[in-house]
Structure formats: structure tokens, C-alpha cells
């Protein structure tokens, strides 16, 4: 299990940020290589993420759903369950968003197995940290 904390700034009011992070069509493409394959309900989607590792790449496909939401506290959990299409591995994560006026925080708890995990937990943590940092920069303009 890799756990990471990040924050993001949008400069937008709380309600705007809350609506934005619950809109999977807007949030998922903010992950580099991420795309919505199909909306399965207002709060779930089938999605893919293509992670390029130089010449190699890994393609994860699975579901993203709003697993928990507290509209008063502006706290939501997006649950990601995905499988590596080219191997036996998986990448699952609970991503907890707490939004406020101007931005918010993200707590990520991820479990990754297979080829990606074979790089070692330290490397997975570094790459995931870089991926989420990039994600927060894209959220800034959502």
C-alpha cells in the first residue's frame, strides 16, 4: 500500500470545485494518459490509463466510481479498480478529495501489483507522487 497526500489550487469557489471533482468526464482526463471509455452511471465510469515508461507502456483498464460522498463536508472518495491489459497486474486506489474555497486536498491510498510493482515500492511511490502532482496541476485549470 502506497499512501500519498497532495493539495491543489483552482482559485475557484467551493461549489465549483465540488462539482468538478465529482464530474468523472472532467476529472479522469486530468490524469496523464487517462480517458473515459464509457459512463456506466452518473457516478461511475469505465476508464483507461496509458502509462508510458519511455519505450514501454502499460495500459490499465477498469472502473472509477464515486464510492463515498459527503456533500456537507465536501469530501468524496473516488475508488479506482483496474487491471493491466498486458499482464497479470492491477492498480487499485482510493482517492479522497476534500475541497474548499480555492482548491482542496487529495489523499491517495494505492495498491499496485504486477510489472509496475516489480520496480519496487519506493519507485512506485516516486512515480505515483509525480503522476498525482501532474494531476493537481491539471486540476488547477479544470
Amino acid at each position: 500500500m502506497v499512501e500519498l497526500d497532495h493539495s491543489f489550487s483552482t482559485g475557484k469557489p467551493t461549489d465549483y470545485n465540488w462539482e468538478a471533482i465529482l464530474d468523472l468526464d472532467r476529472v479522469i482526463p486530468c490524469v496523464e494518459g487517462g480517458s473515459v471509455v464509457e459512463r456506466t452511471s452518473p457516478e461511475s465510469a469505465t476508464a483507461e490509463i496509458l502509462v508510458k515508461m519511455g519505450a514501454m507502456s502499460m495500459n490499465f483498464r477498469g472502473t472509477v466510481e464515486v464510492a463515498e460522498r459527503d456533500d456537507d463536508a465536501h469530501r468524496a472518495v473516488l475508488r479506482v479498480k483496474s487491471k493491466d491489459l498486458g499482464g497479470q497486474g492491477y492498480a487499485n486506489a482510493d482517492v479522497v478529495f476534500s475541497v474548499a474555497d480555492g482548491g482542496g486536498t487529495i489523499h491517495t491510498a494505492a495498491r499496485i501489483s504486477g510489472k509496475a510493482a516489480s520496480m519496487g515500492e519506493g519507485i512506485v511511490q516516486n512515480v505515483l507522487d509525480a503522476l498525482i502532482t501532474d494531476f493537481t496541476q491539471k486540476l488547477a485549470t479544470i
Binding site: E32, M53, G54, A55, K115, N126, A130, D134
Partner: protein, 174 residues
């Protein structure tokens, strides 16, 4: 004259960054190059490389083995994102041959990434016309950031090694 028909021009790159374990040290060959080494009264060396002609021969040190598909993808990345077809040429400004005639010190300018920078290296030359030598280059000397992936956690190392191992032929040999 030197070229692929009488030897190899090899490029070696390493890896860097927090996720370097996922990357590979690459050994590549230039498949279209030619060089003229003139050891007359005023010795000179000129080298010209087709920037589209690199081929990945071997990748070592990665978590996963490097297959043909990945090797081809690296060549495409080099073509599209790194060299971008820009000319690669070296012209000597000074070539010193030692008394034995076997050690040749070369200085000159290398054109790479649309920039010209001074480069110096040594060649050894035996009586049969066999030439060997290695030049050590740095991306940073050319003001270029090495290619990176995975949000900058996996990078090509700054240092690049270019080695020649060939047997000279006179121009008459074709």
C-alpha cells in the same frame, strides 16, 4: 574512408531519475555514417551521421526485457522527439598524430541538436588501419535536457558515449 561497411559507430546511453530501475542502458548502432580520416601533412577528420539511422542493438539493466517492439519504439522516439532529423556532423580543427603514428588526438566541433560545441577525443590506429576511439558527450553541453518519461522520474543520463571501431580503407577501395 570509414563507414558502416568497414566498422561500427556505437552510441551508448545510460539512465537516471528516481524510476531509473524501470529503464534500460542502451547500446545503439549508427547504420548510415561516413568519416574521412586524412593523416597527411595537415591531418583532418570529418564525420557525417544520418540522424535517422540509429538502431537499438541491446537494452540492459531494466526490470523488463527490451523486445523488438520496444526497440523500434525507442528509434521512433529518437527520430520524433530527440534528434528530429537534425544534422550531425563533426569537423576537426586540430589532429595530432604521435611519433609512433598509433595515437591520434582529435579536437573539433560537433554539430548536434542544431548547435555546435567543441569535442575532443583520442583514436588509436594500428598498422593494419584498424581505428578505435571513444568520445564522451553530455546533453547539457549542448543545452539539451535528456529525454524523460514517467513525469521526469525516468530519464536518459546526461552522459552519452560514442565509440568507433573500424578499419580504414583508402578512397580507391570504394
Amino acid at each position: 574512408m570509414l563507414g558502416p561497411a568497414c566498422g561500427t559507430l556505437t552510441v551508448r546511453t545510460g539512465k537516471a531519475g528516481a524510476a531509473s530501475k524501470a529503464g534500460h542502458n542502451l547500446r545503439m548502432e549508427v547504420t548510415d555514417w561516413h568519416a574521412t580520416l586524412d593523416l597527411g601533412d595537415q591531418p583532418t577528420l570529418a564525420v557525417s551521421v544520418d540522424p535517422h539511422s540509429l538502431r537499438v542493438i541491446e537494452g540492459t539493466g531494466g526490470v523488463m526485457p527490451l523486445g523488438d517492439e520496444e526497440k523500434d519504439a525507442i528509434v521512433k522516439t529518437i527520430d520524433d522527439d530527440v534528434l528530429k532529423g537534425r544534422a550531425i556532423e563533426f569537423n576537426s580543427s586540430r589532429v595530432d598524430v604521435d611519433a609512433s603514428g598509433h595515437l591520434v588526438n582529435v579536437e573539433g566541433e560537433l554539430q548536434l541538436f542544431d548547435r555546435r560545441r567543441p569535442v575532443a577525443f583520442a583514436l588509436t590506429l594500428d598498422d593494419d588501419g584498424h581505428v578505435e576511439g571513444t568520445a564522451k558527450l553530455k546533453h547539457s553541453d549542448f543545452g539539451v535536457k535528456p529525454f524523460s518519461a514517467l513525469f521526469g522520474t525516468l530519464k536518459v543520463a546526461d552522459d552519452v558515449e560514442v565509440a568507433v571501431d573500424a578499419t580504414t580503407r583508402s578512397q580507391d577501395d570504394g
